[in-house]
């Protein structure tokens, strides 16, 4: 125990001495929190709408006003000389162009056949789909509002009940998930690099000739990183609660316990990587490929797993972050307890034990 | 022909710390000049200033006849440098390292091959030249580094502890090579910890805490301080200085 503390203390000295890396280790989670909390906002709003109104009637202007007051569309920069919708799309910043040919007001009054045109920039398929839907909805509303009294639609209306995130805030979705990504990043990345560095400089050999067992070395080396990772996780968690007002409806204790289990799994991956590579550079590259990329892309953190092709969905099932992100979102947003989360928890615990076992064995073999 | 190295009151400060405090020395062309001192005495800083790697805080001087402030690009053509740390590319072979440094010194392509052949022969590198240099034993690596440093036939060769970690047999052979270079007219400026090596030098200077405390022919210095050998002379000088401080 004593020896472990000595090694941990030495590791803390390394961390404190390398101010620039520490700076990144603390600033990175903050930057990511703000970027994911604010910049990555997948709700489609502020769609830039260009308008070519050739009818120039009261009605056509009313339709246009309806679009801009809907909350979804904002005016694109106008270029008066353009009258071809395709050119508007190409040369201005418009995402969508509404074309009202002459005869709109007349058709509306006489109830004759008439078509309003909408040209969409399909490059961003997601944006285009949302814009098309919103445009159609606004258009329908306008038609209904123009019906003479007594002819209102007697059809189906819909009432919504929005669960867990009634204000539909993206940050409530991303920021808790980010805790999972950050914990993985700090734990796996930093441990793999720090062990690789001792290998590179030859100090690992030096340590091994001392009467410290390999197990003590590993535990001593990773202890400070558990601290650093938990600190970073807490930092993001704090921002989630205090700044982004993400609700915490479940148990803090449960979240903490699973946080620690998850960190141990991540550290085991870090140790594993370090046994396989010789240089810091490779450790970093490997850690990025094996942990960071999947944790961000394949964990359901940003992109929904159920929308992925089947083979990729299988791949996601071996990613620890996937389970932790399900757990943290469940606890924070839905107030889920262990009775709901036990399958995820079980997978995570089994994964952690397996990873820890392999890491310990690999490390010993490498030494012996 | 001017002196190879001629500096007056050279000083280097890092913040509050004075690494080199107003040293003056001159080295004649073709001389083997030894630069002694305890660890941290300021030898490496002094050498780095002479090579144009560091700008002096104050003082003046010339290396190979060129001003150390204004003409350090010209200096670089006339000097070779071999540092205590092996500083060739470990993942390149000896041959690739030599070719690379030859090109960096802009040795004409036709001459380069002959020069490399000559260096390989003089330093007996033939057996090791095609192996990645990290796979070489320390002694061979140092020889390879020397080869890279003399490829462009510099007038002055700066060697910063060139034989650290090398066994006695290798060291002896290394010095034989240095002697041959000196005979051919190269000025050698060597820092070392080994007193037997220092005795090979025409003149030595002993540095302590950034200052030169003694300068002269090794044999004369031994006589002057009434000590049995250079080692005792060195130790007595350094401890005397330490007591004064």
């Amino acid at each position: 125990m004593h020896k472990i503390i000595h090694i941990a203390r030495k590791e803390i000295m390394h961390i404190r001495r390398d101010v620039r890396s520490l700076f990144i280790a603390i600033l990175m989670p903050l930057l990511m929190t703000f970027l994911y909390g604010y910049a990555i906002n997948l709700d489609i709003k502020n769609i830039k709408l260009g308008v070519l109104d050739f009818d120039k009637s009261v009605e056509s202007r009313e339709l246009v006003t309806k679009y801009f007051s809907s909350g979804y569309f904002i005016p694109a920069e106008s270029q008066v000389q353009l009258d071809d919708p395709e050119r508007v799309l190409k040369l201005t910043d418009a995402h969508v162009v509404l074309v009202i040919k002459p005869g709109f007001a007349e058709a509306l009054a006489n109830r004759t056949e008439y078509q309003v045109g909408l040209l969409l920039d399909g490059a961003d398929a997601n944006l285009a789909a949302a814009a098309g839907n919103y445009a159609a909805a606004v258009f329908n509303q306008y038609l209904v509002s123009m019906l003479p009294p007594g002819m209102e639609l007697p059809g189906v209306t819909m009432s919504h009940q929005v669960l867990y995130n009634p204000d539909l805030k993206s940050s409530h979705f991303f920021v808790p998930g980010l805790v999972g990504v950050i914990l993985m990043m700090i734990s796996a990345l930093l441990t793999s690099i720090t062990i690789a560095r001792e290998k590179e400089t030859g100090t690992l050999e030096q340590l091994l000739t001392s009467p410290v067992t390999p197990r003590q070395i590993i535990i001593g080396k990773v202890l400070p990183y558990i601290g650093l990772a938990l600190f970073d996780g807490l930092l993001v968690y704090g921002f989630a609660i205090l700044h982004f007002h993400v609700p915490m409806t479940g148990s803090n204790l449960l979240l903490f316990v699973f946080g620690v289990i998850y960190v141990i799994a991540a550290l085991s991956i870090g140790v594993l990587i370090s046994t396989l590579v010789k240089t810091q550079q490779l450790a970093m590259m490997a850690a990025l490929t094996v942990t960071m990329l999947p944790s961000v892309m394949l964990s359901g953190f940003v992109f929904e797993i159920k929308n992925m092709p089947l083979f990729l969905q299988w791949v996601t099932s071996i990613i620890p972050a996937k389970y932790f992100i399900l757990i943290i979102r469940g606890i924070m947003l839905k107030g889920s307890g262990i009775e709901v989360l036990w399958p995820q928890a079980a997978v995570l615990i089994v994964m952690t034990l397996v990873l820890l076992g392999i890491a310990a064995k690999k490390f010993k073999m490498k030494i012996g | 022909m001017s002196r190879a190295v001629d500096v007056v009151d050279l000083t280097k400060k890092f913040g509050d710390f004075t690494a080199v405090n107003s040293i003056s020395l001159s080295v004649e062309t073709g001389e083997i000049f030894g630069f002694l001192g305890a660890n941290g005495a300021g030898k490496t800083t002094a050498i780095r200033m002479l090579c144009g790697l560091l700008l002096p805080t104050s003082g003046s001087g010339t290396v190979a006849g060129y001003d150390i402030y204004k003409e350090n690009e010209k200096i670089k053509h006339s000097i070779g440098y071999m540092s205590q740390k092996f500083s060739l590319y470990p993942d390149l072979t000896g041959m690739e390292n030599l070719t690379f440094y030859g090109s960096v010194y802009r040795i004409p392509r036709k001459q380069l091959k002959d020069r490399i052949d000559k260096v390989i022969e003089t330093l007996s590198l033939a057996d090791f030249i095609d192996r990645p240099s990290m796979a070489l034993p320390v002694g061979w690596r140092q020889r390879l580094a020397l080869g890279a440093a003399i490829l462009h036939e510099p007038k002055i060769l700066f060697l910063d502890e060139p034989t650290g970690g090398v066994d006695p047999v290798f060291r002896r052979r290394f010095w034989e090579m240095l002697y041959r270079l000196a005979e051919a007219g190269t000025t050698l400026f060597v820092t070392t910890h080994y007193m037997d090596e220092a005795e090979f030098c025409g003149r030595i200077s002993i540095m302590h805490r950034g200052e030169i405390v003694e300068l002269g022919n090794p044999k004369e210095l031994i006589k002057k301080h009434g000590q049995p050998d250079l080692q005792e002379t060195f130790i007595s000088l350094i401890s005397a200085e330490a007591n004064n401080a």
Binding site: I47, L120, A123, T289 | S83, L88, S103
Partner: protein, 364 residues
């Protein structure tokens, strides 16, 4: 010139000798492209929906059919009684529930109007908002089919550039830009710092090599690697994902050349503020994350809060991203892209010049 060539050759020897490094440089982009190409999919599809149909009439079944036939909602059987439905949401069994009251068809036929209920799991706010939008649209269409009014006035929508609405067509050009940024910034900064760590930088400094020659010799190899990287990614995108390429290859490679000044400049700058490869890697990565997230890679910049939108103007990747997508998807030329290209040129040259000036030849 010869010095630069010697440096370039040396750099390539080093890269190509290191098997692991080589694997990383060439395999990583392929894996990234494959994973990102498939994973980055913000289309909202497959919304698992439980239907509670208390009317159970042909009209209500028609209404449900409208939902399940669009490809957005998939019917999920539920054995949980409606009062306990929240439990099913916490257990993540489905994403939405639609409740049809028992007087549904009767009220429609008698023209009284009726309210259907929808419960959504808004954990993912984006999906929730979009699924509610879909539901509203489906309901509106149902109404116009089954109520008195069928308006002769309609809206015709046409998708330009990407008629099949494939999001991978949009993401892959973006990934090309991202890869180019990450690889070149990281490799350049690390290559310079590595020389400092090994002591070979000091050895080079005593040689008569000039600063411009050193900088060019250290950056050209990574510019070439960047080009190779980009070409592999493009080829992969075109052959595997069948991405259309509408514009000019020459323009794309020309603009990439300009953009490389930015990334190489940033790489150089990072090498001047870091001492170890580890730090260089961290800084490179830090820069990349910032650049990627504010480039409009994942989501339109117009969606971001205003303050963040201003920030994106400082991000050279923003312009390059728009240019790559414009060229590849829309066949845009200089006429359409002159503003982005202009901004990119200004940024690239100033960043590179700044880095160059900072890069002092002396090792202090």
């Amino acid at each position: 010139m010869r010095t630069i060539l010697a440096l370039v050759r040396k750099e390539f020897y080093q890269v190509f000798r290191d098997r692991n490094m080589l694997r990383m440089i060439f395999l990583m982009p392929m894996i990234q492209l494959l994973i990102l190409g498939y994973a980055i999919n913000v289309d909202v599809k497959n919304i698992r929906t439980a239907f509670y149909d208390y009317d159970n009439s042909s009209l209500s079944r028609e209404y449900i059919r409208d939902f399940s036939s669009g490809g957005y909602f998939i019917t999920t059987a539920s054995d949980i009684p409606l009062p306990d439905v929240n439990e099913a949401f916490t257990e993540n069994r489905f994403d939405a529930a639609i409740i049809i009251p028992e007087d549904f068809s009767e009220n429609i036929y008698t023209g009284q109007g009726v309210t259907a209920g929808m419960i959504v799991d808004a954990t993912n706010a984006n999906s929730a908002a979009i699924s509610m939008g879909y539901a509203g649209l489906i309901t509106a269409r149902f109404n116009s089919d089954y109520s008195a009014l069928a308006s002769p006035i309609t809206m015709r929508q046409r998708l330009l550039y990407n008629p099949e609405a494939e999001s991978v067509y949009y993401m892959v050009p973006g990934i090309v830009a991202v890869l180019l940024t990450m690889i070149t910034v990281m490799l350049t900064s690390m290559a310079i710092v590595r020389e400092r760590e090994m002591g070979t930088l000091e050895q080079l400094m005593v040689t008569p090599i000039s600063t411009p020659a050193f900088i060019l010799g250290k950056t050209i190899p990574f510019a070439i690697l960047g080009y190779i990287e980009m070409s592999i990614a493009l080829a992969f995108g075109i052959l595997w994902f069948n991405i259309p390429f509408a514009g000019s290859w020459l323009l794309l490679y020309g603009v990439a050349f300009v953009f490389l000044f930015t990334t190489l400049g940033v790489g150089m700058f990072i090498s001047t503020v870091t001492g170890t490869q580890q730090q260089a890697m961290f800084f490179a990565w830090f820069f990349s994350i910032f650049a990627i997230l504010t480039s409009g890679f994942f989501n339109p910049i117009s969606n971001m809060p205003e303050s963040v939108q201003y920030l994106t103007y400082l991000n050279p990747l923003r312009y390059f991203m728009a240019i790559v997508r414009g060229i590849m998807m829309k066949g845009a030329g200089v006429l359409e892209l002159y503003r982005d290209i202009g901004s990119l040129v200004v940024f690239s040259l100033s960043i590179f010049t700044f880095a160059w000036m900072r890069f002092s030849k002396r090792v202090e």
